[in-house]
């Protein structure tokens, strides 16, 4: 029993956070978000470092590390609110790797792992995927049916219309198959890939929560009212304590999901549902509390908290919101209990 990162993992985490702290400052995030653009220079740099392929097998051009390393990077990207389409690429790679044919793997994985190709993951119904993150500029889009099937749509075959979501730190699009375009089905079971993707999205939300907490703690120590720092008011301190509670709880669940993906896939369905349920709910509450504890400034465009709030809103519903995942936890737990009593 050892619920902590290895030294290598600590190192990856520290390096990733340091890099993003200098490359993805609020100034840069704001600049790109306001321009409706992504940070191409940063994306290229991270591609060069192998981030998109961190969990892709070496034979496919990735780094061959695990989901724990994967969530370390995605958490760091969430924490920095980085305006890069890296998550889409990494999530698409998960599906190609875990549910694609050898041909599909050979065709797409090396490019996705190096970041030279871009991917996106979304859901669709009746042939249309609404609000597909990272789809603008993607080379392939993986689209999930409600029944668990997944299709691979190369950009050349797709119609990708940009849509302005409330979160401009990512680019969203409405995706459908263009006239005469083709769709390839991913032939294997997609559930393992989807579970991993849920854990990855949860990790980004944990990062967002952590950032909201850190900004809030720094602010309430400085800001004075009634002659004292507002952090000395219990109503403020207790709300901040609740933010930590929600962030750490979601982190525990997300690390469990990542560990299960690497070491005990029987527990992955539960771990992924837990991660996504906790991180989605936590992302919403922590970013909302951050705005509240900043007062009027928190409601302004300049304060930058709104980027976190908006990202949390989109990520919280992506691949199922908290209620969806609580329902899954409930069903899985009932299954386990009923099986044990039989």
């Amino acid at each position: 029993m050892n619920f902590d990162f290895t030294e290598d993992q600590q190192e990856i985490r520290a390096t990733a956070r340091d890099l993003l702290a200098s490359r993805s400052t609020w100034e840069r995030v704001r600049g790109h978000a306001e321009a409706g653009a992504q940070d191409e220079a940063l994306y290229t740099e991270l591609g060069g470092l192998g981030w998109p392929g961190i969990a892709v097998a070496e034979e496919h051009g990735g780094q061959g590390l695990g989901m724990v390393e994967f969530v370390i990077l995605l958490e760091a990207l969430g924490e920095a609110c980085a305006a890069v389409p890296l998550r889409g690429t990494a999530l698409a790679a998960l599906f190609v790797e875990h549910a694609g044919s050898p041909g599909q793997q050979a065709q797409w994985l090396p490019g996705l792992a190096s970041g030279e190709l871009r991917g996106a993951l979304g859901t669709w119904a009746d042939g249309v995927g609404e609000l597909v993150p990272d789809a603008v500029g993607a080379d392939i889009v993986v689209l999930l049916d409600t029944d668990g099937g997944a299709s691979l749509v190369p950009a050349a075959d797709a119609s990708i219309e940009p849509v302005a979501s409330i979160d401009p730190t990512r680019r969203y699009a409405r995706v459908s198959v263009a006239e005469g375009g083709g769709v390839e089905l991913l032939t294997s079971d997609t559930s393992e890939a989807l579970r991993r993707a849920e854990v990855g999205v949860a990790a980004g939300l944990v990062g967002v929560s952590q950032r909201a907490l850190d900004m809030t703690v720094a602010f309430v120590k400085e800001r004075k009212q009634f002659g004292v720092p507002i952090g000395s008011f219990q109503a403020v301190g207790h709300k901040a304590a609740q933010m930590l509670f929600d962030t750490e709880g979601a982190r525990s669940a997300t690390l469990f999901g990542a560990w299960a993906a690497d070491a005990d896939t029987d527990q992955l369905p539960l771990g992924a549902a837990m991660a996504k349920a906790a991180a989605s709910a936590g992302g919403r509450t922590t970013t909302a509390a951050a705005i509240q504890l900043h007062g009027g400034i928190g409601f302004t465009w300049e304060a930058d908290l709104h980027w976190l709030y908006k990202r949390a809103q989109l990520d919280a519903v992506f691949l199922g919101g908290p209620a969806t995942h609580r329902a899954r936890i409930s069903a899985l737990s009932a299954e386990r209990v009923v099986a044990a009593t039989r």
Partner: protein
Amino acid sequence: MDLTFDATEAQFRDELRDWLSTNGPGPEPEGEDEQYAWRRDWQRKLHDGGWAGVHWPVEYGGRGATMVESAIFYEELARSGHPLPANVLGLLLGGPTLMVWGTPEQKDRYLNPILSAEEIWCQGFSEPEAGSDFAAVKTRAVEQADGSFLVTGQKVWTSGAQYSKWCMLVARTDFDAAKHKGLTYFLMDMDQPEVQVRPLKQITGEAEFNELFIEDARIPAENVIGGVGNGWKVALTTLMNERAGLAFGLQVRLRVMLDELTEIAASSGQIEDPRVADTLGELHLRCEILRLTAYRGLTATMKYGQPGPEGSLTKWMWSETNQMLTQFAADVVGPEALTMGTKWSYELLRARGNTIEGGTTEILKNIVAERVLGLPKAR
């Protein structure tokens, strides 16, 4: 990261499971005193089997288990459905405090009878006017010419005092010193007429806790622990142990109750109601997060000597989740959950104490805000 038990830990667990399946306290009797005696016998059995002081070092008669094994012990004990040993305060608080602060003579004299349940310990910290602000205790201990102390004052909410031989008593010895500085930690003999124990009936109808009326009780000099005027520091050792120990067993108790509720909800069809399913999902989520967070804290303690930020969250998580769970039982179980004498009604009522005992949730939040987040001291 490895969230499984290694071979040694698994072997420890299997051996313990084995032992617990063939050894038990037998059926629980009626009546509070009878139940206490039953738990005392149970502790003797645990002691004979070498399972009483699992986390205690071997030199003090314990098993010298690792922290993970100790966690496993509480998990497995809870899973077996057997109760906690009677002298839980002595095992978890008193013994470890003595190990840190006691003289060799004190350790020699007191530790073994704690393990064997021969001498029960209670914790006399809280007073009518000193609860959360526990450093405000007023009980007076005045040093006599022969070096002994005469103690006068009142303690309250003293769990298990009626069965105890020894009381971990914090009293004021210096009346001019600053609040935290004038305190001394004593071991007070409860077997003297100068100490009157009056049961306090609580919300459940039973009287786990008591009031202590102390009038000129005598405590010999050798029963000071950690030195005169050092009581605050010694008490902190006790309080830290209070927060660390039980999380693993409590987490399993939650899991066992929750699985029972899940079974009821599934077999009665209530789980088809999305509101029921949603709450069940949330409870399972919290329960698992509690387990995982407790293990994160444990790993941090083993690696760095203290838990990380998550360590101060587990008692708060557990007490809230237990209240949510027992409240939910009133919906799912139906009338039985609100009928006196049933397990569910007992749990519902007892759970209210969880966010008060061992530091209220508000105080825990203050601690998180100040010590973990580094916010200025609350006003």
